[in-house]
């Protein structure tokens, strides 16, 4: 492929340097696939799957060189949703940063909230009461189910089965109702606060969670019955996008994408946080490493989440939902309205916030639905962090996607992207 020929045909009217560098690096990409030099039918072309495309995984741009129907090599271009969240974090207090974490993995916002809270609680040595931990666990698992539901709906919609999108969204609407009741917002809740949670479960909320947990397994069973032995589905997903476990570890994949290759790396078991070591659940893994394995991993994870929620609902006991220490957490609204100290503490927390010790650093990761989501915080003694680094699972998975796509058919691209399940808000922090 002659770069000059490509450049003259492609009239880049914006970011010329950027486009030139991207296409040049596509040309220079090392690959072991043989390229046919004499090409009388001109079967080779460069296809740009641009930042806006219907496979609704956000703004992901893939530039691929095709030889007929096969992808010879491909390059990903991300950053179309970059906003500099890490820079913003350096100018906000820890609690003010909470809504930004919601908007990173916007399919399961609760896990991001919890991850950040845990990192801050680690660096500032804050103890969280038990009831708050159970509430966080229940809502994190509900968020995981919500994210996997969206994954299922969009992956199948992209593969052609449009009704699934409607069915999964119907279930997601039920989850939205639960979150609405619990936190006041449908999905970008900022419910988890440093030191606990914002408010307690009401009776209605508990009832709706119980109802959901009762009704959802039947839906899952129906979908499993429909898809697990469906000839079309299996043909589209079997041996598509295969990764073996050594390559997966080397590429830094994480989450269900890694577990589908055989490595049972789940932070909830590797390095348990909150009260996961008291809950009995399994980590589904598969050995094949193809798209079908990723599908099975996620479906089984949804069933495991229901198990976890049931156990938490059984174990949860009455108690405080936020730690009492005035320097570490916001006081409850009762105290703020009816006592002078509560008012002053509320003001101080909003103004200055939690102040971890100077020079302290902490890293905490949780098992988000996409993989290992970690927050690394460096503090300089003030209420603003010095550096926040977000280790987003979608970033690592997209890095692996570049290697997975080489050698696949172009029509499988959409299904593979669906299987890897990236969220651009997270990977493009």
């Amino acid at each position: 492929m002659d770069l000059d020929k490509t450049q003259s045909e492609y009239n880049a009217t914006f970011f010329k340097e950027h486009q030139k560098a991207l296409y040049k690096s596509l040309e220079d990409k090392h690959t072991t696939v043989e390229i046919d030099k004499d090409d009388p039918l001109e079967t080779q072309m460069i296809l740009n799957m641009g930042p806006q495309h219907p496979a609704t995984h956000g703004v992901l741009r893939i530039v691929m060189e095709l030889n007929g129907e096969k992808i010879v090599r491909s390059k990903l271009d991300i950053g179309y949703l970059h906003r500099g969240v890490e820079k913003i974090a350096e100018n906000k207090t820890y609690q003010e940063f909470m809504p930004y974490t919601d908007r990173m993995d916007y399919l399961a916002p609760y896990s991001n909230n919890v991850a950040f809270c845990l990192a801050v609680e680690k660096i500032a040595h804050i103890e969280v009461p038990e009831r708050a931990q159970y509430i966080r666990m229940i809502c994190s698992e509900l968020a995981r189910i919500s994210s996997h539901l969206l994954w299922l709906g969009t992956m199948l919609m992209d593969a052609g089965a449009v009704s699934f999108f409607i069915w999964t969204f119907r279930e997601r609407e039920r989850l939205y109702d639960i979150f609405d009741e619990v936190a006041g917002h449908r999905f970008t809740v900022s419910h988890s606060r440093i030191g606990g949670v914002a408010n307690d479960f009401t009776e209605d909320a508990l009832n709706s969670i119980n109802e959901f947990v009762g009704a959802f397994p039947k839906e899952l069973k129906d979908w499993n019955k429909f898809l697990n032995r469906n000839r079309i589905f299996i043909d589209r997903n079997k041996d598509v996008g295969v990764v073996d476990h050594e390559k997966a570890i080397d590429l830094g994949l994480t989450g269900p994408t890694l577990r589908a290759t055989g490595i049972a790396y789940d932070i909830r078991k590797f390095d348990p946080y909150m009260l996961y070591n008291q809950i009995d659940f399994e980590v589904p893994t598969r050995l094949e490493g193809d798209n079908l394995a990723r599908y099975f991993c996620r479906m089984e994870e949804m069933a495991e989440s229901i198990k976890i929620i049931k156990q938490c609902l059984g174990k949860i006991k009455k108690g405080p939902i936020r730690t009492d220490n005035a320097k570490k957490a916001y006081p409850s609204k009762d105290e703020v309205y009816y006592s002078m100290e509560g008012l002053i503490h509320d003001f101080m927390m909003t103004d200055t916030g939690v102040c971890p010790p100077d020079g302290a650093e902490s890293y905490h990761s949780v098992e988000g639905p996409k993989g290992e989501l970690g927050y690394y915080i460096q503090s300089d003694g003030t209420g603003h962090p010095w550096r926040v680094k977000v280790n987003s699972p979608s970033f690592s998975n997209l890095q692996g996607l570049e290697q997975i796509l080489d050698g696949e058919m172009v029509a499988d691209t959409v299904v593979i992207i669906g299987g890897v399940d990236p969220v651009m808000g997270e990977s493009d922090k």
């Binding site: 009239n11 914006f14 340097e17 570890i249 890293y363 970690g374 690394y376 680094k389 970033f395 290697q403």
Partner: protein
């Protein structure tokens, strides 16, 4: 219990391996932060991967310490799956022409992470197969996460599309 001794065992091993080039171990935290000298980075990582089985590189990122010497610090988050030990390897680089040897030949997952560090801080990685910017377009002149870069950005540094439609 066994995890603690695995961590201690590893810390002893790395002290023996590096000797004086191991500048500091900050072990007050759950995961040890190990600061090493820049020129021993590549071989230490080879040793970590092949001898100590730290096969999983989770993250590479930089921080701006805003001090006059050793301004930038690049941190590597590496995990050993076998012994369940996670360490943070730190290296400091100067402000003038910051550069480090790339680790993408040891762990392929370092590739994009190093590109991101280059994009945000301007730290170049020698031997990197594809050192382009990650998030900002290639034409961009600045390194956003440096402390002197303003949050709102430099007005005019990146162009917006025109409001009259293309005549093409």
């Amino acid at each position: 219990m066994s995890e603690k001794t695995a961590k201690e065992q590893f810390l002893d091993d790395i002290k023996k391996y590096l000797g004086d080039d191991l500048l500091e171990i900050q072990d007050g935290y759950e995961f040890p932060n190990i600061l090493i000298r820049k020129d021993r980075l590549h071989e230490t990582c080879q040793w970590l991967k092949h001898e100590q089985h730290f096969i999983y590189l989770v993250d590479v990122f930089g921080t701006d310490r805003f001090t006059s010497e050793g301004r930038f610090e690049v941190i590597y988050n590496v995990v050993c799956l076998r012994t369940r030990v996670r360490i943070f390897l730190k290296v400091r680089v100067e402000e003038e022409n910051p550069s480090l040897p790339t680790l993408s030949d040891i762990w392929r997952s370092a590739n994009w992470n190093e590109r991101e560090t280059y994009d945000m801080f301007g730290i170049t990685f020698e031997g990197h197969p594809d050192l382009r910017r990650m998030y900002m377009p290639e034409d961009y002149q600045y390194y956003p996460l440096r402390k002197e870069f303003p949050l709102i950005g430099v007005p005019g540094s990146i162009e917006l599309p025109s409001t009259t439609p293309d005549k093409a």
